[in-house]
Symmetry: C2
Subunit: 453 residues, 2 copies
C-alpha cells in the first residue's frame, strides 16, 4: 500500500468528546476573572525585581496550591533592577504648559534640578538615526510616530522601534534627552512606558514617553514656527541585580509524565498600572485552563505545565533563563503556547507544527470554530516568552486574541481590572482547554520545527 | 376687538431668512475649532488666579480684537487663590499599592511627612453626615457613590453632593481626611478634581478625589474584611486674594445699543487638563457666533455681548461680581445664555421666557429643528453663570448639548483638544447664530421672568 501514514495520528473520538465537555464547562463556569481580580487587588503592580514582584511570586504559588495543581515550584532567575523616581516635563516656551510623561524602563536621570533644551522633531527613529549629530546635539530628540490600530496589533512592531532604539540613537548623537510619542492607540492622557535597549550605551540620556494628547500639543506648537523649549526633571536609579522567579505548576501526566505541554503567561507587569491586561488576564487564563483539566476523572497522558514567567517585560528574562537551564529537556516539550495579549476574545488559531501534523490542528478547529475562532497561519511564535522556545525548535500554537483596544491601555496606569470582561475570559479558557487537553492527551507528537519553515 | 396682541410680536420673514443664511454659513464654514485649538495650545490650563488665567485673559482680548468685535474690554474681579502641590496616596495594608488621586480645589495639606489612617466607607455623603463622629474620628472617610451616565448629565447633581459637602462633613466629625470616588462617568485612571465648600470649616482636612478604578480597588479590598490603611501625603497652599477678569466683547447694536443679548462661556478651567471641553469649546462657540453675526452687512438692532466669565469653576465668581457691578443695567439684558457643557451636538432648545412669548421660540425652532434639535422645557437657567442672571429676572435660553461622555473627561487631565469634534462645533455655532441673531434683531423683548414660574 502507498498510503502509509506519513500523516499524523488523528485525535480519537473519545478525546474529542472530553475536550468538548471541557470547552462547554469552561464557557459555563470557568472563573479566570476571579484570578485576575485577586492578582490585581491583592498584588497590583509587580515590575520585575520589586516588592510587588516578590508578592506576585508568593501569590502565584499559594494560588496554584489552592487550585489543586500536583506540583508547584519556583525557579530563580537573575534580573537587572531599577527604581523609578519622578518624571516631570513642561513646556517653557513659547507656551508654558505641563506635559504628561513617563520614564521608559531603566532610563537615566536629568542632572539635579533638571535640564532645559529645545525639541527637534523626527517622524520616526529612522529619521533620527539618519540625522546629522549637529541637528540633535544638546537638544531633545522628539520621535513623533503614530501607531495604527488593528485587531492583530500589527501596528506595534513599526511603532515600538522608536521606544527600543530611540534613546540609543539620541544618546549617540549627543542629545540632551529623548522624548517619544507613546507607543499606543489611545487618545488619553497616559504615557505608555516600556523597555528600551540600554546595554552598552556609553552616555545614556533621559528617555520619556509622552501621552498622545501631549504629543499633539508639541506638534501644534512646532507648527507655529517658534522654537519649543522644555524643562525636564527626571530621577531614576539603577539598583544592584537581584532575584526573581518563574513560578511553575503542573498537572502531572498519567502515562508520559516526562513529556510536557507548556502553557505560559508572564507574572511581572509594568509598575504604573495593575497589569490586568498585561498580563494578569493571561496568568488567569492559563491557570484556570490547568485547573479545569485537573478536575477530569483522570490526568491527561502528558504533563500540563503552567509557567508564569518572570521578568518578561524587561527582555524575556525568565523565558531565556528557563530555556538555558532546561536545554537538555526541551525536546520533551511537545508544544508551547502563551497568553499575553490582553483579555479580548480569541478569534484565530495559529500553529507552528510540521505540515504533516495539520490534521490534528484541523480536528482541534472542529471544537474551536463554534467559539468564533478561525484557522490562521503556521507562523506563530505562540507569544513573546514562547518565542524563545520556538527558536530552539519547540512546536507552538497560538490562540490569537482580539487586540483592537489592547494598545489603548498597554503599559499605562490605566491597565486595570475594569478593562477585563469576565465573559471574554470564559471564551478564552474554553479555547485553551481544547488546545491544551488535546495536545496533552493525543497519541504521537508534533516533532520539532525550525523557525525558517 | 377681543384679540388684541397679548402675544409676542412674531419674528418677521426677513429676519428669519437672515438667520437661515447665518445658520447655513455656520454649518459650512464656521471655525470655532481653531479658537479652542488656539486656547488649548497657546494657553492651556487656566485656573482662576494663576499665570495661566492671566495668559487666558490676554489671549481672549487679543483674539476678540482680531475677530473684529466693536468693543473689547475687561472687568476686574477678585478671586481667592490657591496653589496645588503634590497629592500622593497609597494603600499600606492589607495590599500595598499606589492610588491615583487629585486634591479637590482649595483643599488642605496633610502634616509634613503625610498621615496614615484606616478608611471608613460611606455609600454617599448623606450616610457620612448621618454617621456618629466616633465612627469617623481619626479615620479617612471614603465616599463611594457612583455617577450615572446620561445625555442630559443629570447624574451630576446627585453625585456632586459628595464633592461639595464631603470634606466639611468629614472635618466636623474629626476625620483625618476625606476621600471621594470621582464625580465622573469614565472608568479611566483619572481623578476628577473640582470645587468644594470650604468657607467656615474650622479645621479643614485633606480632600482627595480617587479615580474610578482606584475606588473599585478600595471597594474590593474592603470586601475582604480586613482594615484598609492608607498613607496620604498632600501639599497645597492658600494664597492671598488676587485679581482675575471677565473678558467682554461686543457687536454693538445699530438701533438699541443699550439693549443687550448676553451670550457667555467661562474662560477659566481646572488646572490638570487644558480645558478643551470645559470650557474652551464654549468660549469658541460664543466667540465664533458673534464673529459670524458681525460679518452681516449691518449690525443687529441690539448689542450682542459676549462675556467670557472668570472664575466660574470656583463658585461662579465672575458672574456674581458682574451682576453685582451691573445691577442697574440688568433690565437691559433681554436674554442670557451660556455654552458650558462640552463639545457635543446640540439636541434640545430650552427657554425661560413668559409663555406669552412662546411664539418666538416656536419660530426659532423652525430654523433649529433641521439641525436635529427638539423643543425642550421652559425651565432652563441657560448655564451656570447664566443662572446668576436668571435669579435676577433675566430671561434665558439654553441650547442643550449631548453630554453623554462629558463627565468622562470633566475636570481631569484628559480634558484635551482631541476630545473636540470640529463638525459638532459647526452644528453648535449654527444653532447659536440662529438664537443669538434673532434675539438681538427681533421687535419687542421677553420682559422679565421669575425663578418661581
Ligand atoms: Zn505582556
Ligand atoms: Zn508588556
Ligand atoms: Zn464649566
Ligand atoms: Zn467645570
Amino acid at each position: 500500500l502507498m498510503v502509509v501514514a506519513t500523516h499524523a495520528t488523528p485525535l480519537n473520538k473519545e478525546d474529542l468528546s472530553v475536550a468538548e465537555v471541557l470547552r462547554d464547562r469552561a464557557l459555563e463556569s470557568s472563573d479566570a476573572y476571579s484570578l485576575v481580580e485577586s492578582l490585581t487587588v491583592e498584588v497590583g503592580p509587580r515590575r520585575a525585581g520589586t516588592k510587588g514582584d516578590e508578592r506576585a511570586v508568593a501569590w502565584a504559588q499559594q494560588k496554584m496550591k489552592a487550585l489543586g495543581f500536583d506540583r508547584v515550584y519556583t525557579e530563580q532567575i537573575d534580573v537587572k533592577r531599577w527604581a523609578r523616581g519622578h518624571a516631570h516635563a513642561e513646556v517653557i516656551a513659547p507656551f508654558p504648559q505641563p506635559l504628561v510623561v513617563s520614564s521608559l524602563g531603566y532610563g537615566a536621570s536629568t542632572p539635579e534640578g533638571g535640564l532645559t533644551a529645545e525639541i527637534v522633531p523626527f517622524a520616526d527613529v529612522e529619521a533620527l538615526m539618519a540625522a546629522p549629530a549637529s541637528a540633535v546635539k544638546g537638544k531633545i530628540a522628539f520621535i513623533n510616530k503614530r501607531m495604527e490600530r488593528a485587531r492583530t496589533g500589527e501596528g506595534y512592531g513599526p511603532a515600538v522601534q522608536g521606544r527600543s532604539k530611540g534613546m540609543r540613537a539620541a544618546a549617540e548623537k549627543g542629545a540632551a534627552a529623548m522624548l517619544l510619542r507613546s507607543v499606543g492607540t489611545d487618545s488619553d492622557r497616559f504615557a505608555h512606558t516600556g523597555m528600551m535597549s540600554v546595554d552598552g550605551v556609553a552616555n545614556p540620556v533621559p528617555a520619556l514617553a509622552l501621552s498622545a494628547p501631549d504629543a499633539n500639543l508639541l506638534e501644534a506648537m512646532l507648527q507655529r514656527g517658534k522654537p519649543v523649549e522644555l524643562k525636564l526633571d527626571v530621577h531614576n536609579a539603577p539598583l544592584p541585580d537581584g532575584p526573581s522567579f518563574n513560578v511553575i505548576g503542573e498537572v502531572v501526566g498519567r502515562e508520559k509524565p516526562e513529556e510536557v505541554v507548556l502553557i505560559g503567561a508572564h507574572l511581572d507587569s509594568w509598575d504604573e498600572g495593575t497589569g490586568a491586561l498585561d498580563d494578569g488576564a493571561g496568568v488567569a487564563i492559563v491557570m484556570e485552563t490547568a485547573r479545569l483539566i485537573s478536575e477530569l476523572p483522570q490526568r491527561p497522558r502528558r504533563t500540563l505545565r503552567v509557567v508564569l514567567f518572570g521578568a518578561e517585560e524587561i527582555g524575556l528574562v525568565g523565558a531565556k533563563q528557563y530555556v538555558d537551564a532546561h536545554q537538555d529537556a526541551l525536546d520533551k516539550i511537545i508544544m508551547v503556547s502563551e497568553s499575553d495579549f490582553g483579555a479580548g476574545k480569541i478569534w484565530r488559531f495559529d500553529t507552528r507544527i510540521p505540515e504533516s501534523k495539520f490534521v490534528i490542528a484541523d480536528q482541534m478547529m472542529q471544537l474551536l470554530a463554534p467559539l468564533g475562532i478561525e484557522r490562521g497561519n503556521n507562523k506563530t511564535y505562540g507569544g513573546p516568552d514562547s518565542s524563545v522556545f520556538v527558536a530552539r525548535g519547540v512546536p507552538a500554537m497560538g490562540l490569537y486574541q482580539d487586540g483592537t483596544d489592547y494598545f489603548d491601555y498597554h503599559h499605562t496606569p490605566n491597565d486595570t481590572l475594569d478593562k477585563v470582561d469576565p465573559d471574554n475570559l470564559k471564551q478564552n479558557v474554553a479555547a485553551w482547554v481544547v488546545m491544551s487537553f488535546l495536545a496533552a492527551e493525543m497519541e504521537g507528537d508534533f516533532g520539532r520545527v525550525s523557525i525558517e519553515n
